[in-house]
């Protein structure tokens, strides 16, 4: 995870200071800034292929295309593993008539439930380090959005929802986009950049 | 009064025809033209011959209803025209019933109807008597507007293409009803 080579002076860069906050104290302006910082976005298709990658801040270390592909594939695998290792809790009251029915392996599977019943196992959702936080959002069709943000960032949820919305609008409604293929939609890039700029 | 109504596509193909008589003043709604039944094509001749005049009037009068555009005196046939914006033309030929005194040379079928025709003419003062009176124009306008509504509904159908014959029996019923109501 060495994509983010984040120089410290960047977050405190003077041109970002005071743009938003009337507060003058260093700490508060720092907090204000970090709310907005989105470093980069990666979209992985359901087969684990990289279909979109973009940086939103200058000064990030560049990876080669191949490295990005490897990163996407690796994350996809890790995500699948985390989903399968979700702990399963044994059920207290095993419904005896169901268990009694022979010849099926229903008892073994229905004998457990996930810690949060009703919610399917989702896999890795956050990965946090000193310098950044990775948020993963998986759509119902298996597409994964990886968002790299500042660890102090508050409303990742909002950002993620908006990105998903833009993706649904400008990628999925584009007749020239082929499913599971790399995203080359100029309108998506434009609106994504414009929206993030509007926030930062 | 007898009517012959036809719709022509922008390329002059007839897409709908109907003949009917007046229902006003005790009329029975059956067309009785001055031609024998074997010569009904005369109506079509007369209507189509008025197309030149319609096409001339089309570019000087911006209205959709062009009123009475042409008369064919030998048959006492009056033509009123209505243009849809998309180029279809509604043409209505109306022919007042034959006067009893000129009945001599006509055919047996219409002379039999002589008395009936004269009462119709006498009782329905406004429309039948004078094909060019303002009342008639107004009645024809109302009739045309009603047809136009049905025509737009036909044209909006995804299965209808411009220039296709209108075969819907419901459309025909609508036209008959409009004729009964206004003419």
């Amino acid at each position: 995870m060495s994509i983010l080579n984040l120089p410290l002076e960047f977050t405190g860069a003077p041109h970002n200071c005071g743009r938003h906050s009337p507060q003058n104290t260093f700490s508060s302006s720092h907090a204000q800034l970090s709310i907005m910082t989105v470093f980069s976005l990666i979209i992985i298709n359901k087969a684990g292929g990289l279909i979109y990658q973009r940086e939103f801040q200058p000064g990030l270390r560049k990876l080669s295309t191949n490295d990005y592909l490897v990163l996407a594939g690796t994350f996809h695998g890790v995500h699948a593993i985390t989903r399968t290792i979700t702990p399963r809790l044994p059920l207290q009251n095993t419904a005896s008539p169901v268990v009694a029915s022979p010849g099926t392996n229903a008892p073994t599977t229905s004998g457990y439930s996930y810690p949060n019943p009703g919610v399917p196992a989702s896999g890795l959702e956050y990965l946090e380090t000193e310098k950044f936080r990775l948020t993963c959002f998986q759509t119902l069709t298996g597409t994964k959005f990886l968002l790299f943000t500042d660890p102090m960032t508050g409303s990742v949820e909002t950002v993620m929802n908006k990105i998903y919305e833009l993706y649904a609008d400008y990628v999925m409604k584009n007749p020239f986009y082929q499913l599971e293929m790399p995203v080359r939609c100029e309108a998506f890039d434009r609106h994504l950049a414009a929206w993030l700029r509007g926030r930062t | 009064m007898s009517y012959y109504f036809t719709i022509l596509s922008p390329t002059d193909t007839p897409i709908f025809n109907i003949a009917f008589g007046t229902s006003k003043g005790g009329g029975d709604g059956i067309a009785r033209f001055r031609f024998p039944d074997t010569a009904q094509y005369m109506n079509q001749f007369i209507i189509h011959s008025s197309l030149d005049i319609v096409e001339e009037a089309q570019w000087t009068n911006g209205g959709m209803y062009l009123k009475h555009v042409d008369t064919y005196p030998p048959a006492a046939a009056y033509i009123s025209a209505f243009l849809t914006p998309s180029g279809a033309r509604f043409l209505l030929l109306h022919q007042p019933p034959q006067l009893p005194n000129s009945n001599t040379g006509s055919l047996g079928s219409s002379s039999l109807l002589g008395p009936g025709g004269s009462t119709t003419r006498a009782s329905s003062s406004s429309i039948a008597a004078n094909p060019t009176s303002p009342q008639t124009e107004e009645a024809v306008r109302q009739f045309m507007n009603e047809i136009y509504e049905s025509f737009v509904k036909t044209a909006m159908s995804p299965f209808y293409k411009q220039g296709m014959e209108i075969r819907s029996p419901v459309f025909r019923t609508k036209v008959t009803a409009a004729g009964k109501k206004w003419l």
Binding site: - | W59, E149, V152, K153, A177
Partner: protein, 253 residues
Amino acid sequence: MAAPRHSAMLSISNNVGTPQSTSSDKTQIAQPQSPAQTPGLRVPSNRKTIYDRHLNRSRNAELSRASFAYLFAEMVTYAQRRVTGIQDLEKRLNEQGYPLGLRLLDLLFYRATSTSSSALSSSSTSSSPPNRPLRILALLHLIHGPLWRLLFQRSADALEHSVSPDTPNEYMITDNDPLVNTYISVPREMSMLNCAAYIAGVIEGVCDGCGFEAKVSAHNQPTEMWPSRTVFLVRFGDTVMEREKVLERQGVK
């Protein structure tokens, strides 16, 4: 076997509408007189055909923009099959829009007459019965204003006449952000393509329907502020220009 299925199908399509045709119309249909009983004619179970539904019912109804976007995306994909090039694709989109233009024309005038309000109030002095456009300018105002409002709920952004003396038959209608192109990003290798060729087809249908033979094409003219700005170039035929001169001499407006 077919009958119940059919009636079920029609009831779906009909229970959307509210019953509001006049009672006299209904009795006309219901009576088994006249050719309404043609064999093979299938009437909905509630005896309401398209002729019994009011044309203004959906006048102020709103459509889902997303549904339209998906539909249009499929239309483009469909048109893209076995095309030989960008021009061919634009031609197909144009052909898809053309019949829509013819239909909209009639609907537009019908709605203007039936409400007798100023739905068609272009620059010309339109009294309650609207006039068919006789001159080019009246037609273009019809497209720029009422037609655009019917389709997109706003007027087009500009209407210009070609400044070149060689092409007096060329007019331009500008839309800063065509609705059909909202979600479309054209790949770089097809950068000449503009999917608003569909709208160009609609305009062409309207022009042809009014008796103004014309060719309409859509062109990209992006600006900094409006990246999908589109210019619809309307080229009228020679016969139209000749007639225009005659009408001008006659003082027809």
